[in-house]
Structures are given as C-alpha cells and as structure tokens.
Symmetry: C2
Subunit: 352 residues, 2 copies
C-alpha cells in the first residue's frame, strides 16, 4: 500500500511538498502540484488516518457511548448524531450496551487517541467519578444525564414536564382515578416521568396513591400484564398513563382483547410518540420525544464546547409536547373518518 513516501518518489518531490498539496497548506508551485496530484491518483494513495492524527492531535471523529441500541429511540439518536457529524465531516465511533460504570470507563479508554470528544448517555447511577476521569482526556457532552452536575454540557428531554402535561390532560378531561404504568426502576427517564405524574396529581389536589402505580419495564408485554392488574382493581381506574409507548401498545392490545373500549371505557396516554403511535387503534395520544434532535443538539454542543465560549457548560432541554390523538377521547367523535385521516390519524379498525 502506497505511503506518502511513494507518492513523493513518483512525483520526484519531497514528502513535505506532497503533504502541502494534499492538505493545501503552504505554498506550492503549479508544476509540483500537478505532479503530486497525478502521482497520488496513479497510486490511488489513501492517507493513513492513525498517522495523521498522531501528529495533528485531531481525529475528526466523535465517540458515542450508549447504554443500549435497542428500539426506535436510540436509533433516532444515532441518526441525529450521524447527520450532524456528517455535516461537519466528522466520523462517528459508536459503542453501546454498557451495564455498569466499569464498562463505560473501559469503552472510553479504548477511545483515547481515536476521538476528539465523547457523547455519553449513561443509564447507570454513580457515574460521576467516571465522568470526571473521562473529561480529563477529552471533552464530554452528556445525553439525558441524571443531573446537571459535572459542569459539562448536556442535552436532555423534558420528561417531567411532558409527563405532567399528559396527566393534566387526563385530569382536564374529568378523570379522577388515573393509573400509571411505570418504567424500570433506576431508569432516569422512567423516574422523571413518574415524578411528572405525581406532580400533576398533586397540583390537582389529589394524593398520589401507590395502589395506582403499576410496575413495568418499558416492554410491550409489561404493558400487557399491567392491563390485567389494572382491570382487577376496584374501583377500576378510568385512565392510564403509560410511561412509554411500547407499554401503551401492550395496554391497548390487552384492553382490546378484554373487550374494554378505548377511550370510552378507558383512556390511555403514552410517551415517546413512536412512528406507529398514530397507526394503532385508536391513534395514541402521547408525548412527543425528538430523539433525532437530541443527538443532533449533542453534536452541536460538542462543537461549540470546543470553542472558547465553552467556558460555561450549556444545558439544553428539549421540549416534550403532548400530541393529542384519540386514545383519550378528547375530541368530538362525530368527525368522519376522512377528516381524521387528513389530520394524520390512521386508526385501523373501521370506525362504525
């Protein structure tokens, strides 16, 4: 494989000149430039990135550390990161499924010398010390951190506000017994959404009741199971806030199977606004999370972080607006199907 030396030899110039024309740094005569370009083309010379970044101390790549890769959320985060990085001609080095702090640390170590900065989303608690060690090595932007600690930039989703808005919506519709299907314990998002749920109830003067809080783990089947428990409760709640859409899907499915009509007999609201939320029956009212933007903003923060204005670490919070569709029965049900379709609501079952 040809190196810069081979190109120099063929073009009959020094490696310094080759480097100059290829990087457009420093002055070069037209003649030399021509010869170098031709030699590089003939040899199909590809510069070695490792060597280059050893001297320049820049890698043109962004490291990304995620707890997992499963599902639409992470997929969209990555897509946002990739697009933003691409625009800046940066590469993306991804590593995921890190259970504990130790794994996060070793993954970060492996990136030393290979990335210019790290985008880190950690579901684990007590990562603070680890983050401090990582920050010594390269700049870090936190995605959805547990807290704003650390003095390093971060982007997060307004989980609390979104959840509160969702439950307030149910309250405004007249519901009094509102259940929640919680996310996995220890999960940051799950915790914030639970907090939002409780806050909304509290603001309405209603005491949050443990009996109305059902366990879940963000999977469809856990929503399914929760439905059965909820239906057993007496008095039966008239509305459910699922801490994410997957569980809401499970709920909807189980309710349909049990012959419970949504939203007439039970209102359901989710969180995430997955692509399919508008395609289920009835179209799911849910809280929109812009995962793509989360990744995109993280990259932007990283870039501005590098500049001088990074003195003050910025903390962005992406809004999580409620998207009202039909699973809470908030709208008049008399509208014809055509009108609803044009509004982007695509429930499956014939309306009758």
């Amino acid at each position: 494989l040809p190196t810069i030396h081979d190109v120099a030899r063929l073009a009959d110039v020094s490696i310094a000149t080759v480097s100059r024309v290829l990087n457009d740094s420093g002055p070069v005569s037209d003649e030399a430039q021509r010869r170098v370009l031709e030699a590089a083309a003939r040899l199909d010379y590809w510069p070695n990135g490792a060597a280059r970044s050893l001297t320049t101390r820049r890698t043109q790549t962004l490291g990304v550390l995620l707890p997992d890769l499963y599902g639409e959320f992470f997929s969209e985060v990555i897509r946002g990161i990739d697009h933003a990085a691409r625009r800046e001609r940066l590469q993306v080095l991804i590593s995921s499924s890190h259970a504990d702090t130790e794994e996060v640390l070793s993954a970060a170590r492996a990136m030393r010398g290979r990335v210019d900065g790290l985008l880190l989303m950690s579901s684990d608690e007590g990562t603070d010390e680890a983050i401090r060690r990582i920050r010594r090595v390269f700049p870090v932007v936190l995605l959805n951190p547990r807290s704003e600690l650390d003095g390093c930039a971060s982007v997060s989703v307004a989980n609390f506000e979104g959840a509160r808005a969702a439950v307030e919506h149910l309250i405004a519709l007249g519901h009094r017994d509102i259940a929640i299907v919680k996310g996995p314990a220890g999960n940051v998002d799950a915790g914030e959404r639970l907090r939002g749920y409780r806050a909304a109830l509290g603001d309405a003067g209603r005491e949050p009741a443990p009996a109305l809080e059902f366990p879940g783990d963000f999977t469809e089947s856990s929503g399914d199971r929760a439905a059965e428990e909820i239906l057993r409760r007496d008095p039966r709640p008239t509305a459910v806030f699922a801490a994410n859409d997957s569980m809401a899907i499970g709920l909807l499915s189980a309710l349909a199977a049990a012959g419970i009509e949504v939203p007439r007999e039970m209102a359901v609201v989710g969180f995430d606004d997955l692509a399919f939320a508008r395609y289920v029956n009835p179209p799911l009212t849910t809280v929109h999370v812009d995962a793509y933007r989360l990744g995109e903003r993280a990259v932007r923060l990283m870039l501005s972080h590098g500049r001088a204005d990074g003195a003050v670490a910025r903390h962005e919070v992406l809004p999580a607006p409620l998207v009202v569709r039909r699973s809470c029965g908030s709208e008049a049900s008399g509208r014809p199907a055509r009108a609803r379709r044009e509004a982007g609501e695509h429930g499956f079952a014939p309306t009758r």
Copy 2:
C-alpha cells in the same frame, strides 16, 4: 496528559518494560510489574490508540458503511454488528447516508488507518469498481449486495424466496388477482421482492400484469396512496403484496378508512416483520427478516475472512420465512380472542 514515558519515569523503568507489562508481552519481574501498575494507576494512564495502531497496524475497530440509518431495519443491523463486535472487543466506526459511489469512496478513504475491515452495504449500482479499490486497502464484507461478484464475502437476505413464498401463500388461499406495491426503483431488496412476486405468479401459470404492479417507495404514505389506486381498479384485486411492512401499514390504514374489511374483502401481506406487525389490526402476515442476524453474521464473516480460510469468499443467505398471522385470512376465524393472544397475535380492535 500522561504518556508511556511518564509512567516509565514514575515507575523508574524503561518504556519498553511499561509496554511489556501493560500488554502482557515478554518477561517482566514481579517487582517491575508492581511498580508499573502502580504508576499507571496513579497517573490514570490511558494508552493512545492512534499511536498504538500505527505500530501494530491493527486498530481493533470495524468500519461500517450504510446507505441510511432510518428505521428499524438499519437499527437492528447496527445492533447485531455492535453486539458481535463487542464480543470480540472490537469498536465500531459508523458512517451512513451515502447517496452515490463517490460518497462511499470518500467515506472509506477517511477510514484508512482507522479500521481493520469494512462492512459495506451499498444501495447504489455500479459500485463494483469502487469496491475493488476499497478491497485493496482493507478486507470487505458486503451486506445485501446486488450480486455476488467481487469475490468478497457477503451476507444477504433471501428476498426473492421470501417474496415468492408470500405470494404463493396468497395463491394457495385461492386469490387470483394479486397486486403488488413495489419498493423504490433501483433498490436491491425492492427488485428482488418484485422478482419473487412475478416468479410466484409465473409458476402458477399466471402472467404478471403491469396493471397489477403499483409504485411505492417503502414509506407508509406510499402504501396509503397505493391503496386508493388499487381500490379504483376494476376488477378489484382481492389481495395485495406490499414490498415492505411500512407500506403494508399504510395500506391497512387506508383500507380501514375506506371501509374495506381485511382480510375478508382484501388480503394483505407484508415484508420485514417489524416489531409492530403483530400489533396492527388485523395482525399482519408478513415475511420475517432477521436484520440483527444480518449484522452479526457480517462480523463473523469478517473475522473468519481474516484467517487463512478466507481464501474462498463465503456467501451467506439468511432465510426469510413467511409468518402467517391474520391479514390474509388463512386461519379459521372462529377462535376466541384469548387463544389468539396467547399465540402472540395482538390485534387492537375487538374481534366481533
């Protein structure tokens, strides 16, 4: 930031010894080992990957080039790659959204010196020459290639066979006028699935009719639009094969809105078996694609490729089995909902 020299100085040994203990290469006295380990820990020394791979000529990372990152398919491919790579302690350098050959090439160039091999999925035609140039630089495994050319290893999905099986299923159910909603022109998968559709019709002695082939682009809305055209046709087809699940979802939605009952008035079969396929109403009969495995196998091929047995480039084809649910009406409809749920079919609407 500490280098190997700093560790050597603090431990009062040479850098060679430090390297030896840290990489467990060559003999080292217990005393020296102790001192080095302690020094490295005290300085929190993280070896520089670029420098290391410059000498070893190994990067411990896999390059991945994809045409896009959108949707469940790519997301799962990446997840499969990531897990398999992780098991081998490899990192993953991802780059996507490459429209044309030129972009693929420049992305690959940027990876020179940064990856030990490249996993390449290109939707573009005429990439053959580019692939040859890339292969000079590092080993390549093709994902879902247009053809088995190139003599380099590849993994692909049995698109043709899957599509044929899907359409044969419809034929076996007695359908004669079977429409297809095609994928985007130029797309490899779309092409193969169309071929499978035509082959099934041909095998059944039916002439493939252009009037039954409707355009689509793999999006929900294109399935939606196709439905309207299909319903306008006279005689109206009694079954539709959607070249992917997203379009099938669009179809289902539009059919429901038009008051057409599925599967009684119109059978629908999809392709991909997205997570939500079993949750729509009726649960979608579709062809299963194991995207996770696609990525996983690609990594495995890359690894064995490196070894001596790589002399013969292997070509794996992942099966794409038909998953029969309810959108084609293949099963007796008398079964109670509970039985169906236990079989993993979770349609939303009450059955009635």
